[in-house]
Symmetry: C2
Subunit: 271 residues, 2 copies
């Protein structure tokens, strides 16, 4: 592809590309377009290092040269992607923020069917049920990356892992972790086709989370922020564990509970 | 105090009380008024059970009777507080949300000087440095409650623990955990006046977090979301520990890192 042809300047607020960028902040448009946004040099560099290049790169024009941005730009053009320069005012309109990052990329959404999950490729997988908060979603992806999990499986009606907030909170882990979406029935049927221990934090019929008999591949199931897991889901688990609760509350933030449990499982499987 | 005198109906949008409620969503006004908002029956009931009653209770009029709300109302009036009824439209304006909780309370801010901390009253204390996200702040309070920590000490320029978002994310722990605010210099001087082990997750000169020699009272220090801890702060710690990082990233979400470490310290001190 000709480099010059794929580089454009945008000078008008009403430009279609700017409207497109703005539309990707909404779930229905992301779904329709099969695309999502990631903002900032750090996130885009993480993506590139993981082999993910944006199909469109949008930058503020007249910025200082930056070696990481130059590398990104070169790769995007080489792959036949578009590089667009515009003013910071116009980019602010496109991103809907008064202080936008100086660079944003549009990526094709990843395949999120269960068939992409190779359960034996990692010792731990995180599973979230009806997780509603995009920040928690991104935090779980980030934790998954840190513990060497294979990915995050989303059950029932979860927040969109491709929202700008979730992508940002993942700190790049959206590009390292597999993400799959399934109903509870689909997930359970898939899980039982092969090896895999399903573990949840629970108050029912549970053993202490420390020293519990975890086995790889271990699937750590975390429930909805306000409702927790449905009883039926807990009952289907191979192992139910409790964590100490010394205060008034009987639960932790969902992403925190998942992380504390995941680090225990990691130690158990490696120890 | 006469019960009838302390009960009011508000029917106008421009009412001073409604403006007051709305103002408490902003930090500068909370600071000036020395007051903060908590919303929802659950949060207000948690507060009551911990001995904290709002000085003003604002409710949607014509709601269904609710035993917890009745108990709350009785206690507030008995303590000389105000009970205000209004329409859900007006309450929506007061809370600035289109779907407000049907009940909100105004509390006096707590004393947040270091002098309120009795270090020997709990084995673990959480310490956050320049923590900026109110959700992380609330999550740390909630984790503190769960592990039986004494409270959360806020160093340098942190988010406001009395913001509506932090109070909500704390799930009531704002009423069980002590909260103190101090500069780094003040905190360190105070810490060194008595017993206390200062611990941080670090990549420098650190030992594995599992099985490290933790001692009560243990102060777990967590750094800013994007910068981490200043090197000088890490150097001042009695113990630096590392947590496994198997992925691309070299850090966890601040509230997650604090929680994983806190559960390890809890197990170590109790084990």
């Amino acid at each position: 592809m000709n480099r010059a042809a794929a580089r454009r300047q945008i000078t008008g607020f009403s430009n279609l590309t700017i409207k497109y960028l703005r539309s990707l902040r909404e779930k229905k448009h992301r779904k329709r377009e099969g695309a999502f946004l990631a903002e900032g040099v750090r996130l885009l560099t993480d993506a590139r290092e993981c082999g993910h290049l944006p199909k469109m790169l949008v930058m503020v024009s007249g910025r200082d040269p930056h070696p990481l941005v130059n590398a990104l730009e070169g790769d995007v053009l080489e792959q036949g992607g578009e590089v667009i320069e515009t003013s910071s005012d116009i980019l602010a309109k496109g991103t809907g923020k008064s202080n936008p990052q100086a660079i944003a990329g549009v990526f094709d959404e990843f395949d999120t069917s269960l068939s992409i999950i190779d359960r034996n490729s990692a010792p731990i997988w995180l599973v979230a049920q009806a997780l509603r908060d995009p920040g928690n979603m991104g935090t779980m992806l980030r934790t998954g990356d840190a513990i060497g999990a294979g990915g995050l499986i989303l059950i029932d009606d979860c927040a969109d892992p491709f929202s700008v907030e979730a992508v940002r909170a993942s700190m790049g882990a959206i590009f390292t972790q597999k993400v799959a979406r399934a109903s509870w029935g689909e997930f359970l049927a898939w899980l039982r086709e092969g090896e895999g221990q399903l573990v949840a934090a629970s108050l029912r019929d549970a053993v202490p989370y420390r020293g519990a008999p975890y086995q790889a591949p271990c699937f750590i199931l975390v429930g909805n922020e306000s409702q927790g897991l449905p009883e039926e889901y807990e009952a289907a688990c191979d192992l139910r564990v409790t964590m100490p609760m010394k205060g008034r509350a009987d639960s932790l933030n969902a992403a925190v509970a998942g992380a504390v449990l995941a680090y225990e499982v990691l130690d158990s499987l490696e120890g």
